[in-house]
Symmetry: D2
């Protein structure tokens, strides 16, 4: 990997207090390569909890803010203030926090999806475009070296013209109505439309599947025909999504996502088929990428190998056979974003607001299609 010699980027975080899942991941990922330093945070609106998080992460007590607007103001005024804000809140806060940060002149990196609704995403696009600041989305899976290798393989034309895409994301953790007990913060907000937005499974993981399919195939989805369900009684949002896709060039595809696939863990898998062969990547074995060919042996590519593309090589820290995982993939997105801030050159590896709008369009249109009895609905007005 190439190493920057710039001093670390100073980062503030919004969200990530006690009980959070993704906040700590952002913290570890951001600091993994010593290119970013967490210096401030509005980790929780509860002052006590906010300070506890700061202590845990070695952030000075006076830079732990209960209100994110106060933080933007104070940090913007410091000579050593934060340059970058990481947003790790539930979805409904993505827009206001991002807007506040960008307006304070700070760069923004946000957890996905872009916002809670498609309208908010369109609004955020306007804000980002007018801000002169960088905006990135942590679609984690695009950070894996073998996902980046997969994209390079498609780009190079090794598979020939792409003819089919199958993507699935299968989880089982919402098989029971665990959000109804009230003590599961993660299940709680994800199944609550006031915090999550209109999408349940579609917005939490379906959008990851959608994004990785477009990221690797290089093709945009043009229309969807969706069958969303709420399988667990009493739940407000969808928890199971089965979607027919048509990509540019009328390429057929399927997206299958579920949070009630009992027993499944975090089963994201992408297959892209071309005229000459197909690629197959599974998140739970992230360090390999399988290529099947029409009339040659199957190939398994291993992360960390010298024969990989520059894009994949740049995204590993260890020799082959030394597993890297979710935090490292996340770290690649942060490292690339820090480099972008330092150099002003935005890398194509970090999804931005355009990918964010497309993700929200997917959620919105899949819900619409399903409500109308699985009709085909177009995404073309949101072409990136």
């Amino acid at each position: 990997m190439s190493r920057s010699s710039h001093p670390p980027v100073r980062m503030a975080m919004v969200g990530g207090g006690p009980g959070a899942f993704i906040g700590p991941v952002h913290r570890m990922a951001a600091e993994l390569d010593a290119r970013i330093q967490l210096v401030a945070g509005a980790f929780s609106r509860d002052t006590e909890k906010c300070r506890a998080a700061a202590a845990l992460w070695d952030v000075a007590p006076d830079r732990a803010y209960a209100d994110y607007r106060d933080m933007m103001r104070a940090e913007a005024a410091r000579p050593d203030g934060a340059q970058l804000v990481a947003i790790v809140t539930p979805n409904h806060l993505h827009l206001p926090v991002a807007q506040a940060a960008l307006e304070a002149g700070l760069h923004v990196i946000s957890d996905k999806p872009a916002t809670a609704t498609l309208d908010e995403a369109l609004e955020l696009r306007r804000v980002v475009e007018g801000s002169g600041r960088l905006f990135g989305l942590t679609y984690t899976y695009t950070g894996y070296p073998m996902v980046r290798e997969a994209r390079e393989i498609v780009r190079r034309g090794d598979l020939g013209r792409i003819r089919k895409v199958v993507v699935e994301y299968s989880q089982g953790w919402l098989s029971e109505p665990i959000e109804q007990a009230g003590d599961n913060k993660q299940a709680g907000w994800r199944t609550d439309p006031t915090e999550s937005g209109a999408g349940g499974c579609s917005g939490d993981i379906g959008v990851h599947a959608f994004n990785i399919a477009e990221f690797v195939s290089g093709l945009q989805v043009e229309r969807v025909c969706a069958d969303l369900s709420t399988v667990v009684p009493g739940r407000a949002l969808d928890d199971d999504c089965n979607v027919l896709l048509r990509f540019q060039g009328d390429v057929p595809g399927v997206l299958v996502a579920s949070q009630i696939a009992a027993g499944d863990r975090n089963g994201l898998r992408l297959r892209v088929y071309g005229e000459k062969g197909g690629l197959d990547w599974s998140h739970e074995s992230p360090n390999t990428l399988t290529l099947n060919w029409l009339s040659a042996p199957t190939q398994t590519l291993h992360a960390g190998s010298g024969y990989l593309s520059d894009a994949a090589v740049a995204a590993t820290r260890l020799p082959t056979g030394h597993p890297e995982g979710f935090i490292e993939a996340f770290g690649n997105i942060y490292r690339d974003f820090a480099e972008a801030i330092a150099t002003g050159t935005r890398p194509d590896t970090v999804p931005g607001i355009l990918a964010g709008v497309r993700g929200m369009a997917f959620i919105d249109r899949a819900i619409l299609s399903s409500r109308e009895g699985s009709t085909w609905v177009s995404l073309q007005e949101f072409a990136a």
Copy 2:
């Protein structure tokens, strides 16, 4: 396994001459357990080829018939004549051959799908029901011990109520227009509507996926919303099928089948999810069955183990760790069918004409749905 002491059932075959794929499999499978003996055949309409096949399989020359109708007549008249006819021809001959055999008082075991069209299947149902003879379909995959185990697991309620079914069947061998060269008998008839019927990929392998999904889940598909494609230019029939399903009880499902998934071999995979866990079976590793649970370790069941159900134990010949495959699975169907002929007790392990009609209804309705722009189309009038 329990062993019958009945003498072997005498079998005649229609089809299976030089260049055939499935005919030789039927022969090996039928004779594997010494419960059936091939004694006659109309292997080919070409007399030379018919006799060559007979010689290869140790069938007496005078019982090699160029015309299957002659064979029915001659064998029915012999005291040691065939009791059973195996049909291994292209689909368009299934109905006339089956009808001739049944009318000659012979039992019939036929390759899938039941016929070339849904109308033919309904006609065949009438013939079978009036014949007093047994009719079985070699939906091969139902012969695998771990598929039978999967069905028992669902039946016992181990997974709780079933809530989702995902089935896929992915092949790549028709990625190129190999049928156009004229020398590939297998590709030729499968892509020719006059021999194959209305379904291409849907009829060749989609129907297998459909059948195994119903066989294991114990649920019938009530409606389909299909997106079929002909990806390879110049081909007359579909070669890629993506279908949304709704089973009884409004259970969602997805069926993905392809013959242009370049590099894939014979990737049939079934996942059935219930309230408590999910099962996962893949054809290319047929001797294991994986069970994932909401909050317990994943289990892998191995064929040949003592802890399996009677149904699975009866379907293996070897101790655990000794792989059995496609021929043995096929052999299980034949063995069960021979037992049925000997005892007059039809086992529930061999799909019959009702499953045959449902398969043809699936093909017919999926094509209809796709033509109408992926609307939902009902299968309920064909409930078994």
Copy 3:
């Protein structure tokens, strides 16, 4: 595969009565390709049991013999008498039965190991060499297409000079003293030195591991340094074997075999490393062969593929993705042996008496080495 047009070879069997494991496998394997027909048998010394086996396998009652010597005599005298004898008894009968058959002018195919002791094997070699008849050993694993492919890969030099061999065969079924209950025929004779000979685990499965290592690597073991154990109290023979090997050219190797590896099924695995890469084959996934390379992606070869060697192609019956297993591998040995009988041209795919002597030498010398405190003991006087 190429098909012979010779009439089927007529076979008699010795052993294989009720309770047998390997006898039925031999029967299925022999008849799988219609190149051999079972016509007679001395299945059991108990007349009732012998006739029961004959009935089960469609052998005429008057050709079911309680005494194998009677059978040799009677069959040799018939114009349609057996041409080939399959020996599927415990080890201590291999020599006398083979001798009787060969002296009656019949070809012999025998289960492994060659005999009960090394001295017997040397005696059998003399008998075979003087008989003018063919003698084959069913070292099953050499029948797998991907094992034959592995041998071709080494022969072609794809891996460069061979530098290390690791072979293991891990079972757990003798973890408990199940032979002491008296009702397990398989465990009984295998742990009884009067029937099994001097080797327990070493003779039952260690010898398979030894044979496949030499078969694929093309190198003979020159010396062994063994540590054999009897782990289960009260057992007379070894049930765990760990052996250091040195092959020709001083190539290092390891052989690990166990029947007390609790929970393991039938875990034969072979790895052969050369200068440029290594091959890896595991019996429980027999239809793939993995090649790892110094600086190129890992390759997985799939049985039934067109890119394989002629040797592998000839050993499959089905297209890629259609699993074949233990019976089919066994069937390949029988098919090749039948072809040898028909044509008089012995194929190099079926191990003969020389491999038999080497196997017995391995057992004998490993036991000797272990008794002497794991000293190095030479096998060079038994070079093939």
Copy 4:
């Protein structure tokens, strides 16, 4: 995981300059959980390189020392000086650096093996025992949650009495004499006895295999019978190791390690068999642990699951299905060590000097055994 509220431990590093492999891993692992902060370093004896590393890792320029003795002195004198020294140099420096650090009153965490020779390890043991400071060894693999789970499973007696251990560590990266080109720092020192000590493959990875086997089985190796080779011409140290083991209670075992297993990556695998079942862990799929049972389905345990032991739960940061890898495993050792420093309670998860001595005894005795023609050599005088 439980979180400490102590301020981060201040750490200095010796080694880890440009071209290093393991230094950067230590840095990432140490800082991963914000419980340790790198504040100083003697990264290289070359002042320029030392400062470059400091800049890269955000260490103040005045705390980058070209001489580690200067660093010990200067840091010990600062009120905010380092409390802990991480040693990431080649082996020959482990003893002098550790001694200097301990004598300066600093805790020490060192890469493995303990030292370059067994005598040095015994000397280091005396120094550690007299220092009143903590000493830990980063036997990385003991940091994996599923390795810790494996240890708990053995400790709880789930497998019954342990009866066999098979451990292997297979790499191919030294298949060619890459150390002779002079530009591969990693290959260079590992094959140079003046830096590496007496062991090549045995000291670099064999010792890892030895340590994990003892860590999980809870049994100490009592004697070894080794066959070490130098396969690549011109190399001074062993590059292939095959070792018979006997553990306490005369339990048999095998250790197979290689750096010339061409094509292999970082293939550490451990199998431990008891009376009731066996466990199987492979480093390249670190987040699962397989349990095979005598007469029950195979179980696969997944890291991050709620059903795991406290020891395994404490060693994961993410929900199940989110892969953690080598850096996180390393991080677990650092986190536990930081906790030990903060609380004065040494966790049993971090190997110390006793494990260090045992590792060096293994290397020393294996070399001795091999030189003497693979005789059994005792390790009992180094019992921990």
